[in-house]
Symmetry: C2
Subunit: 377 residues, 2 copies
């Protein structure tokens, strides 16, 4: 029997994304699945109700109306109490549950008898790449960090040769070379900045250089031998750390733009830029702190505000992808669609295989309990 998928409108303050697009809806409705979307759910991502209707969806007047009969509920952020109360028992709920911080939501989902999955917990294996929401969102966060920096910065990024003189290119330093950092490097390079980057993992040097940026690290013998067979960084000596810190301090003082991206899910972000390093920068410089959701990489960062420290502007958005909600929704919806493929048959019947390693890794609540091993307290 074909099933019903519900997409309520996001309710968190500032959350503009939506968990489905006309593109994903079309594929489900073609498979005979009923899709119920709360009216207005797509507006933050520039998707009208009519666009969803044209894709075959039904429009529900409220979240409860969308959810009530749903076998699967798709969300961006964890559901609210009223949404959880509306779930039918055994409903499958998939979202970015922020499981380490939103335990009350998990408890409520368990009590409601829902099978809830955290998209952040999808393992980073090849088969799951298409479901990797952390990567899809981090990529856009890295792009958007550079756009925000360019919007805050009172100069141009590229070098410009004009009749009245030459405008120097922006010196841009990316700290942390994961998915977000790599896209930040690529975007800053596109805009014409002079880009450097650093990371504790020596393997990132080649990636940084392949994007036309300079890798900034103390490259002594210890560094060259730092990588383990598994591609991870070894713990470096205190002596190495001190040399690297001195290098970074001298480097930051010369930068126009610094973008920090060291965000470790479920843990406090490490401080990468101290208040002394902020003070060493020229007035007019800009720092974007992508770790603001977890406390920030930059001393003095205040979440979602542009802080001015003697002319240096620090901006730490806690949900930067909401500023690029259309693409963020499109990619997240694709991630969800791939994940939903693990829960249903080709004919659109509900049949989750709880032995699948991806489902197992992402499953948080089932049969009335919080079942994920990391969340047992």
């Amino acid at each position: 029997m074909a099933i019903t998928i519900a997409i309520p409108k996001e309710t968190r303050s500032g959350e503009t994304r939506v968990a489905a697009t006309p593109d994903t809806v079309k594929k489900w409705t073609a498979a005979g699945i009923t899709v119920r979307i709360e009216s207005g759910a797509g507006l933050g991502a520039a998707i009208t109700d009519q666009a969803f209707i044209d894709a075959g969806a039904q429009i529900a007047k409220s979240a409860v109306d969308a959810i009530a009969a749903a076998d699967i509920v798709l969300k961006v952020r964890g559901p609210e109490a009223a949404e959880i109360a509306a779930l039918k028992s055994g409903a499958q709920v998939i979202a970015l549950l922020d499981a380490y911080r939103e335990k009350d939501t998990l408890t409520a989902l368990a009590k409601a008898g829902a099978a809830a999955y955290a998209m952040e917990f999808v393992p980073r294996i090849t088969r799951a790449q298409v479901m990797d929401a952390l990567s899809s969102q981090a990529n856009l966060a890295g792009y958007r960090a550079v756009i925000d920096a360019a919007a805050i910065y009172g100069k141009a990024f590229p070098m410009m040769m004009t009749a009245a003189g030459t405008v120097a290119p922006a010196k841009t330093f990316i700290m942390g070379v994961g998915v977000a950092g790599l896209q930040a490097i690529a975007t800053a390079r596109r805009l014409g900045a002079v880009v450097s980057a650093t990371d504790v993992r020596p393997a990132t040097k080649e990636q940084v250089e392949s994007l036309g940026a300079k890798f900034t690290a103390v490259e002594d013998e210890e560094f060259k031998n730092a990588q383990t067979a598994g591609g991870y960084a070894k713990e470096m000596s205190a002596e190495y750390k001190a040399k690297q810190a001195a290098l970074v301090t001298a480097h930051i003082a010369k930068q126009d733009i610094v973008i920090t991206t060291a965000l470790i899910p479920g843990r406090a972000a490490p401080i990468l830029v101290t208040k002394e390093q902020v003070a060493s920068m020229k007035p007019g410089s800009v720092i974007i702190d992508l770790a603001a959701p977890q406390g920030g990489n930059v001393e003095g960062c205040v979440p979602d505000q542009i802080v001015d420290v003697n002319g240096v502007k620090i901006y730490g958005p806690t949900n930067i992808v909401t500023a690029i909600a259309s693409d963020a929704s499109a990619l997240y919806a694709k991630n969800l669609q791939a994940f939903v493929g693990l829960l249903i048959t080709k004919d659109g019947a509900l049949a989750p295989d709880f032995e699948d390693e991806i489902l197992k890794a992402a499953l948080i609540t089932k049969d009335g309990a919080i079942v994920h091993p990391n969340l047992q307290s």
Copy 2:
């Protein structure tokens, strides 16, 4: 005898630029000129009082204190009544006077016995390129228009190939290919957009294509023969205009980003995008109207607001370069410095040559009267 140059702090709402930089100050003070800068004048452009002091300037407590003994007063925008009242008779005042609209200021300057020059009136001859403030500011306006569009747009500009699917590049259309339009094309191309552009002057086709963008115009025999020997566009036939309008209408409906740049100093801006054309665009599209200071190229544009018309966002900033005040100030200060070179000797003595064609073209008031031929009423 060496002279005094004064730079008061700008007073107009939102005006963040300043008419000098440490770089220009250094050259004057090296020539024995006294430079008096009002405290805080550079802060909007990230220049501290200390940076001006280090360059050899004196800091004045107020605009009046800076101006009182000055032979030359440099401003971004036209002076206020209190500033004019503080001028000594025969003072030289140089600014972007917006002479066609701010006639009261001109009258007051004349009454005060000032020789006032409008930087907008500097002629576009080779020798005056270094003083061409309209071009230096338009160049930055074109860059900034794309940054603003990218900041407002809910998607990415470049194509991105990700595990969860491909993000399409932003289709970007630049209307009007002057200095601002050319820099907008270059910046949008840098960011990875698919760019097209149009202009009534056929000679711009080659410039557009040299930047990697597509020229969008009806290229029939009439078009090919449209250019006069002087490089100007001939008046086109009604038939041609209708064909071109149809082409542009069809083109706009497919765009994600439209940037209009048809700003004609001293005249109302022509409408380039009608409300029907706005309505034809997809929700989420963005229009930046650089002609907002002169009424706008886009129907429905409200100065300095982001207007949402069924999901299409229209933004018409009236002074966009204030968002890039450091570079805008640096280039404008260089323009002023070159212009001041026409008023003083190498030793720093005041000696304007009123027969110089550049001075003549820019001179608005002298010896108690408004003297510019375009401003006689």
